[in-house]
Symmetry: C2
Subunit: 348 residues, 2 copies
DNA sequence: AATATTAATGCAATCGATTGCGCATTTCTT
DNA sequence: AAGAAATGCGCAATCGATTGCATTAATATT
């Protein structure tokens, strides 16, 4: 009763009148310790309720067995799916995952990254959240050779593993699909052209038009921040054109939805009068009415791959940086399916 | 260039020909160190690119500055909102948050909790995920007096801070609302009666009926697991009654939605012929058509409160366990609003 | 039996920061 | 001016686990 604190290897050693070194080695199944001794040690450890002190071990080993993950917002489907994937792989490999959100704030991101650095994470998985121009806080990781993996949004000027989705192809296929559905005049709502992601989606759109011999009309492309209100404003602007579009490839599902609601209120039928396609496959896109055609981004898989990449760097000291481009999937739903080609089943 | 590893307080001490103790104290703004010395130390620390080694500090201080959070599934709106709230408060207080998901698996939960224990988390915030009968892994925390906070789903037999929502009141208000809307025969789709949460929702429903002098008809209550398919089966069963209900209080939004889709396909109008209310305010409930009336559970707030409670235990050694019941909010939307009393604005 | 091998274990330093105690120097008191 | 009090700083132990090297015990070799 007088020993209130946790037993350590020294307590076990004292109990058995052996040295702490032996206990430590036995606990690690070091072959230098005889089976007999090891078994005695394990028995005593068990009976004393011994739990290794991970912190002490980490200090000595100069590693934390921890992977840091930084996302703009935990509470958003895509990101929580990625986190879920990272956690899945990391946990199986015996790592702890620490997660933090930048709230899209440059200052918070810096604070988080520094804190993770101070906590000696063994690697960092991050999705850059803002249009910050300064990446010094991330360069620290490169300088110290601490494994770094970017996902979804990478910093071009920093060498590291990167994992992104094939936005170009996504944009291309959305556009081709709309053309296949017989839409003739296809508009595009693009996101910030500071981000490669949105540049690629737009380029995919342009390429598909070109391949089909459709002239590219810049007045049909509107660039904004892709929040719900932007969708409404953009669709209003498009409908005011002398020749409005008969389909819109929206940069994300949020604007697809807000556009749809606006158009519905104006008595425009979807998909008959106007085709709509979003991007990201947010959960709601499947259950709204009409359901929204979209591009699925494999968030969970992306998280798993990011974890695998970082573990590879950590454990095999891999020093060749790769960029992994994950395929996207076109999901055809009601909002663009006026030929009723195929239906995404709702399993209700 | 020859000193490859990070500088420590000893390196700073050597540089200034003073002791490491002084450096350590200066870095903590200990008043025993003169301003002049401190400034010199800070300057050198800065120039050497010194970063405190949190692990060493944690070892010495016998704490990790870390809070563990265990949820059934990260990738689900309510839980990610809670995590977001925890992270918000914890980060501001200088704590690191480590998150893990049990995937609703008893064994994984045990493994996670033990791992967090070994990692010496300063406190654990957890939502029990399964019908496990064994809570030994959590009792460890109590035995060692490590702060523990349950949220959403608590273990009755373990003394700890708990934070839940007022499910009874939620159920009551949903039912009262349906009555106010003129619905006469109100059914209820209940979740597993092993969980207090669902017991309370059902009791709220029963109480409201009683208060309004409406007899409680057991055939109108169906208990299931509240997944989408259950919603369809339950609504089929209810519609087959000799006198079917004209409104259903569904145990969650998922079943509310699947019921609605089924009813729509059968040509039943909502809310005119049938009123539907869900529970939880999942993001989709606002954007489906008709939008779903529901009860909002303050996930983010719950996370914040949970973090505050655990910080209070950690920092003030608070030893009186509280149970905090958060209020819920009834959100009236289209699916139950046949009197058009008020509309939940969609800010599109 | 004496020496060479091999196996099993212990010693002591180390990881980096923290802190009780004590010494030395400066400032205050009267 | 001489002792008292305050100020500033350093010594060395500590947190618990790990590991290179040394040492002892056991077994093999000739």
């Amino acid at each position: 009763m007088h020993k209130k604190s946790d037993p350590t290897i020294h307590d076990i050693a004292r109990e058995l009148k052996i040295s702490a070194s032996t206990v430590s080695r036995a606990l690690q199944n070091n072959p230098r310790i005889s089976l007999k001794t090891r078994e005695k040690i394990l028995a005593v450890a068990e009976s004393m309720g011994y739990r290794p002190n991970v912190i002490a071990s980490n200090l000595r080993n100069k590693r934390s067995n921890t992977i840091g993950v930084v996302v703009p917002l935990i509470n958003r489907y895509f990101f929580s799916a990625v986190i879920s994937g990272v956690e899945d792989i990391a946990f199986k490999a015996g790592y702890t995952v620490v997660i933090s959100q930048s709230n899209d704030l440059a200052n918070k991101e810096i604070a988080i990254v520094q804190s993770m650095f101070a906590n000696r994470v063994d690697g960092l998985i991050i999705s850059i959240a803002m249009q910050a121009t300064n990446y010094e806080h991330l360069k620290m990781f490169r300088k110290k050779n601490i494994p770094l993996v970017f996902f979804d949004r990478a910093v071009a000027e920093i060498e590291a593993d990167k994992i992104v989705v094939d936005d170009f192809n996504g944009g291309y296929r959305v556009t081709q699909h709309l053309i296949d559905q017989g839409y003739k005049r296809i508009g595009h709502m693009a996101g910030s052209q500071n981000l490669q992601t949105y540049i690629d989606r737009k380029n995919g759109y342009i390429e598909a038009l070109a391949k089909n011999g459709i002239p590219h009309d810049e007045s049909l492309v509107i660039t904004n921040s892709l929040i719900a209100e932007d969708g409404v404003r953009a669709v209003q602007q498009l409908m005011n054109l002398s020749v409005p579009p008969d389909a819109i490839f929206c940069g994300n599902d949020t604007t697809a939805l807000s556009s749809m609601i606006y158009l519905r209120d104006k008595g425009i039928r979807i998909p008959e009068d106007m085709g709509i396609v979003g991007f990201s496959n947010e959960p709601f896109s499947r259950v709204v009415s009409p359901s929204i055609s979209t591009i699925a981004q494999p968030g969970f898989l992306m998280g798993q791959k990011a974890a695998e990449m970082i573990l590879n760097q950590i454990e095999h000291k891999e020093r060749i940086f790769k960029t992994l481009v994950l395929p996207t999937e076109l999901i055809i739903r009601e909002s663009s399916n006026r030929k009723k080609i195929k239906d995404d089943q709702l399993f209700f």
